[in-house]
């Protein structure tokens, strides 16, 4: 493939970088990234990857835009309230960069469709807001051998880490299974400062681009936690867990399944966050 003059101008600030260059920009143009969730994290991820010229972006979300989403889900604008999130996203991405092919799936990501959805893609991004979905994405990426950029946000805090299956620690190496229902609040219940979604999502997009380009040190075997109240990033080193139920020495999980969705009630709202 070769770039048109317009494309060379569009991507000139990438091409100037010795680590990217024309060769790297071609890798970006050929890359396929699957974003699960077109919401708080999915918005900055999709917008920045589209601006960067990622060739194909897959977006899955079954929701419609709600007015309460607009405080952070920057893919969606006021007139989009009530519209399909993936359709709204596709339009914004096209306006930003028509070079990008956007595949949209107005669907839930489930144990029965997960493998088919991620199969064509090179990298998967976690932009979902429930624990069962986060564990499902982790497991599906492990079975499919796809790199995953995990993200999580709550209140003023966020977390990112990258997983290269069979090479680096997975989500289950750390967390094993979801918390008991009702113990850990969701953003819907506990709130989220909108910009934290932007901070965490743009780091996820950065990590995806680094994997595509094969540059730098990936955020693997390190968990990056951010606290906006203090403006502090903390890196927690980790490693593969031999007792991981998915990728450990004697795994119990041998096929995809979904953990039960938690009940929407809080038992210990004050117990979150240690300082």
């Amino acid at each position: 493939m070769s770039f048109s003059d317009e494309q060379i101008t569009r991507y000139s600030r990438h091409i100037l970088l010795p680590e990217v260059g024309g060769k790297g920009q071609k890798k970006i143009a050929q890359a396929k990234v699957f974003v699960v969730g077109a919401g708080g994290l999915g918005s900055p991820v999709a917008l920045y990857l589209a601006a960067a010229g990622v060739g194909t972006i897959g977006l899955i979300d079954s929701d419609v835009v709600d007015r309460s989403n607009l405080q952070r889900q920057v893919l969606h604008h006021t007139p989009d309230v009530g519209r399909s999130k993936v359709q709204s996203a596709k339009e914004k991405i096209f306006l930003l960069n028509p070079d990008v092919t956007v595949e949209t799936y107005e669907d839930r990501f489930t144990a029965s469709n997960a493998m088919d959805y991620i199969a064509p893609y090179d990298v998967v991004i976690d932009g979902v807001d429930t624990f069962p979905a986060k564990f499902l994405i982790n497991d599906a990426c492990y079975f499919a051998g796809k790199p995953l950029i995990h993200g999580g946000i709550l209140r003023f805090e966020g977390r990112v880490f990258s997983i290269v299956p069979k090479q680096s620690a997975c989500y289950r190496c750390i967390f094993n299974h979801p918390p008991p229902p009702g113990l850990v609040p969701s953003c819907q219940e506990a709130g989220i400062i909108g910009v934290v979604a932007g901070i965490i999502g743009t780091i996820q997009a950065t990590e995806a681009l680094k994997l595509i380009l094969g540059i730098g040190d990936p955020l693997t075997d390190r968990i990056l936690d951010f606290d906006a109240r203090k403006t502090v990033f903390r890196e927690i080193k980790t490693k593969r867990n031999p007792r991981c139920p998915l990728c450990g020495d004697h795994p119990d999980i041998t096929e995809l399944f979904e953990h039960e969705h938690e009940a929407c009630q809080l038992q210990t709202p004050g117990a979150f966050g240690i300082s």
């Binding site: 919401g39 708080g40 889900q73 807001d129 624990f131 946000i153 918390p179 008991p180 979150f272 240690i274």
Partner: protein, 66 residues
């Protein structure tokens, strides 16, 4: 005994990881615990001893994204 908990040095008396959790008022179901970069399984929190200088991380669940 001095321990480093979530990156901060702290002085406290504890024999096991569970003692540290109790001292910090952390529900063991709310966190993944790392001792010197190694995950400690929940069923071993009460039997895993801590020593002066250990680095302990409590990783709280963070499930949001949308």
């Amino acid at each position: 005994m001095q321990l480093t908990i979530n990156g901060k040095p702290e002085e406290l008396q504890a024999d096991t990881i569970m003692d540290v959790l109790k001292h910090k008022d952390v529900d063991p179901h709310m966190v993944a615990v790392e001792l010197n970069t190694q995950i400690v399984e929940r069923d071993q929190l009460e039997t895993t001893n801590v020593r002066a200088g250990d680095k302990i991380e409590f990783l709280f669940y963070m499930g949001g994204g949308a």
